[in-house]
Amino acid sequence: MRFIRKTRYAQDIALFRHNGQRFWYALLGVLVVAAPLALDDFYLGEMAQVYIYAIAGIGLMILVGYTGLVSLGHAAFLAIGAYAQAWLLTRGWPFPLALGGAALLTAATGAAVALPVMRMTGIYLAVATLAFAVIVEQVIVHWASVTGGFSGMLVPGADFAGMDLASPRAFYWLCLGVLAAALLLAANLLRSPSGRALVAVRDSEVSAASMGIHLIRTKTLAFGLSAGFTGLGGALFAHKIGYLAPDAFTLQLSIMLLLMVVVGGLGSLHGVVFGAVFIGLLPQGLALLRDTVPPAVAQIPGLEPGVFGAILVLVLIYEPQGMYGRWCKIRAYFSEFPLYRRATYKRQKRYLRTERLQ
């Protein structure tokens, strides 16, 4: 078991807690940066897809995991980011500017959506965001002069300063770099007052307001940031799929993004990455598995969504903290062996909240 002697307050706001953590993150960094040297193009493409899911998932995690607002419409933000990226590139914007522009435009849309849905929470908010996603889908279909309508839109090739960013290796490194930057921004947000304000709004609005937190501004900020990160993921997603059509951004994609943050573990950035790996690699894992089981089982229709759903239900029943929560328990088990107590992570009872106020 590791004991950290703290002598300065700065140690508590550092991104990494101790040298052991620095070592493992550095090792992971080296491995993922060097991965293109060992893996073939197919696996690089799959990993780039995982990074894109993770970038979009950071956005959804800020909203769902940290601010406690559920969205069933995040595929719409992914779509806005993707179409904005393609449109800005056709206007001749250089690649990095287009990427930033797509993210900012999506963030502005998110903040604008926040205003009408501000007073909703829970299931009502989920339905409102779902309606928003439908509206965006219809706009994409009908605004043919910009989006190409049903027939879709070709995404211009990604290149910058003479470098071709569309080759599998370059695109892999691009997605990795954007993910690392997005994770850093999100980690910075969460260790500063704005991030704590999000958590405060999640846990008790009445109390947050009496601490001087502006509820409307904070929720608008949460929506804007969430949409911005998801739009950034969408911009990269556009290059990944190469051709944009309205049916690429369905309700199923929104639900998949939501599953990602729930299965990964709500309320942690680790959870986003774990969830993205899970969501991105599960179909491939199932495809590999399909070759080994008897054909009668492998050919059952709807096997993939079935397994997907079963895993989700099992996670929600047995590990509501998600994959990251399970990882923390495993780590605690080994670091405290043989003194680990199961009760450490038992869910505590909540005391009655004041009812006079609501």
Binding site: A10, S194, G195, D203
Partner: protein, 252 residues
């Protein structure tokens, strides 16, 4: 010198007149207690001050300014902190983070600076941490610093709520039944902390409290309410002897 004034405030919910025509003045540096039977309107007055409810009539003045129509977060920005009767902490966070959220009113950095975690943000974080640690030392919460709120006993939660309010470095502190749910020993400690908060930090306190022992020991003046109406204001001894107060508690 008067720090806070309520002038003829009234509010009703449907047909229930929760507070009717109540006026009082709180002087700078005093501990002012509000007592009364259940349903007298004590917590409602707190909710009017912190703008959870709108007053139907009357005015609230803080330091000479009219705060009757401020937005909720504006009340905190003026320097009025409060606690809640059944605790309203941020359950998913540690004690330390709850206290840091208490420092939020002193935030001077913008979103972009925070996303980049500029040196100004780092300095501000260290400053917040120092404030939080001072409060932790004052209320002896060192042991619980990194505990999640969800796992803490009720008495500690009440204290963390007071600590979080103190992190705002308020000029006026509203304590809503600070001793409810505490055992006699904890209540006695609370009396000492109240003295510290009032005398050492110089914070004016308005307290809703049922424990008459604590009220007479800690407060300078007491206001008694019954059924939303003001009965009397005076020293603890005067209020306890006042015939209207005795009638409100004991009946005719």
């Amino acid at each position: 010198m008067s720090l806070f004034q309520a002038e003829h405030i009234a509010v009703s919910f449907g047909g229930v007149k929760a507070v009717q025509d109540v006026s009082f003045t709180v002087h700078s540096g005093e501990v002012f207690s509000i007592v009364g039977p259940n349903g007298a309107g004590k917590t409602t007055i707190f909710n009017l001050i912190s703008r959870i409810h709108d007053v139907d009539a009357g005015r609230l003045l803080f330091d000479g300014d009219d705060i009757t129509r401020l937005p909720r977060h504006g009340v905190a920005e003026r320097g009025i902190a409060r606690t809640f009767q059944n605790t309203e902490l941020f359950d998913g966070e540690t004690v330390l983070n709850n206290l840091l959220i208490g420092c939020h009113v002193h935030r001077r950095t913008g979103l972009l600076a925070e996303l980049a975690f500029l040196p100004s943000v780092r300095r501000q974080e260290l400053g917040f941490r120092r404030t939080a640690e001072e409060v932790i030392d004052l209320l002896k919460l060192q042991h619980y610093r990194d505990h999640l709120i969800a796992g803490l006993p009720y008495g500690v939660r009440k204290l963390v709520e007071v600590a979080r309010a103190l992190c705002m470095r308020p000029r006026l502190l509203l304590l809503d039944e600070p001793s409810s749910g505490l055992n006699p020993e904890e209540t006695e400690d609370l009396g000492f902390w109240l003295d510290d908060i009032n005398a050492e930090l110089g914070i004016t306190v308005i307290m809703v409290e049922h424990d008459m022992g604590l009220v007479s020991r800690a407060s300078h003046r007491v206001m008694a309410l019954a059924d939303g109406a003001l009965l009397t204001i005076g020293t603890p001894a005067e209020v306890q002897r006042h015939p209207d107060v005795l009638r409100a508690y004991l009946g005719d």
